[in-house]
């Protein structure tokens, strides 16, 4: 019986593959990412296939997620942010599905790997930087220059630069840490159930207590799974808004 709560996060190669000295094996991680991407695309395509005027349950779920993200972008970046809808929507749906697929017992949580979340966050920040320079040119650097007397700027500009560089880190660490902590907690309590159950006698009866706790944490984790996808998407919107409008709030 594997009692290590971190064991669930180990990446195991399924199809070993080495190219040019790099390990590019197809792992359980890759498998889950493929499943997530396929499931999300299939769900959205199939749900919208009929385009019924009176939506079925699946169709209204797809429509709701569309409206949810569209509203989110519009309220945080304004109308010109809507051209980033495909980007933000894809991010949101991918993270959401990855989180939810991770909740299936025995599966693998893609978003509990810092490599994955950091890649997503880096993608967001690169988009922000490219957008910023495309819309403002060199004026994008004004983002790092707050309104202050110039001697203070010597101190404030480095602070602003560090603050900007923080974003990919905090964006990725938040998602990764939430998933890691939640799933570790579940595994730890599951370990208690096994230990108490195997203890025999009256102690075995006690194993109901951690079991009940697991159910509660499971529900909490479902909420966290959604909330973290939401937070990831809304922060993307907020950062895009800054790139589009610099400091002037519309």
């Amino acid at each position: 019986m594997a009692m290590n709560p971190m064991e669930q996060f180990t990446i195991k190669p399924i199809v070993p593959l080495h190219i040019g000295g790099y390990d590019v094996s197809f792992t359980n991680q890759s498998l889950l990412m493929v499943i997530v991407a396929v499931a999300a695309s299939l769900f959205l395509t199939l749900a919208m296939a009929k385009r019924a005027l009176v939506p079925s349950r699946a169709q209204s779920m797809a429509e709701m997620s569309y409206e949810f993200v569209a509203n989110m972008i519009q309220s945080s970046t304004g109308d010109d942010g809507l051209r980033f809808f495909p980007f933000v929507f894809t991010l949101f749906v991918f993270v959401l599905f990855a989180n939810f697929f991770g909740m299936i017992p025995g599966s693998f949580t893609v978003t509990s790997q810092i490599a994955v979340t950091f890649a997503l966050a880096a993608l967001v920040i690169l988009t922000v930087i490219v957008t910023g320079f495309a819309t403002h040119g060199i004026g994008f650097f004004k983002l790092f220059v707050p309104k202050a007397p110039w001697p203070l700027l010597l101190l404030l500009v480095p602070i602003e630069v560090i603050s900007f560089l923080t974003r990919p880190i905090s964006l990725s660490v938040r998602l990764f840490a939430n998933m890691l902590a939640g799933h570790t907690m579940l595994a730890v309590f599951a370990g208690f159930v096994v230990l108490l159950g195997g203890a025999g006698g009256a102690l075995s009866l006690l194993s109901i207590a951690p079991m009940a706790l697991i159910v509660a944490i499971m529900l909490l984790e479902l909420l966290v799974a959604f909330l973290q996808a939401y937070v990831f998407a809304i922060l993307t919107c907020i950062y895009l808004n800054e790139a589009l409008h610099l400091h002037d709030h519309h």
């Binding site: 309220s75 560090i162 603050s163 880190i169 909330l227 937070v231 809304i234």
Partner: protein, 115 residues
């Protein structure tokens, strides 16, 4: 009968509008949970410290590479700058949170009034 129909149609339209308005309010973003807020602030603060420290360490390494002995000057300075940036991040996050709450004033309170 013919005169009544537009009347009832308009009524229906009004009711639809109202229903839609109610729906829009319900579709609004989830209120941030206490834990979510705490976690957000914590990561902002810690990430800034890490970035500041890493930048300082990198600069020290760079200067050391060219034979100028600066360690631990830059790491100390940038660690402090990182702390300042972290606080700046938290202030900004708090501002965003305030704006969010101001935009959708106390949805939970409003729901209580409706029921």
């Amino acid at each position: 009968m013919a005169a009544q129909e537009p009347e009832s149609l308009r009524e229906l339209g009004e009711r639809l509008d109202e229903a839609q308005r109610r729906n829009v309010r319900r579709d609004q973003q989830p209120p941030p949970t206490q834990l979510g807020i705490a976690f957000r602030f914590a990561t902002e603060l810690v990430a800034a410290l890490l970035v500041g420290g890493a930048l300082g360490w990198g600069l020290d390494w760079l200067f050391g590479f060219f034979g100028i002995h600066t360690r631990p000057l830059f790491i100390v300075v940038f660690f402090m700058l990182g702390a300042a940036a972290g606080i700046r991040n938290v202030m900004r996050a708090a501002k965003e949170l305030n704006a969010e709450i101001a935009a959708h004033p106390a949805s939970s309170v409003k729901d209580d009034e409706e029921t």
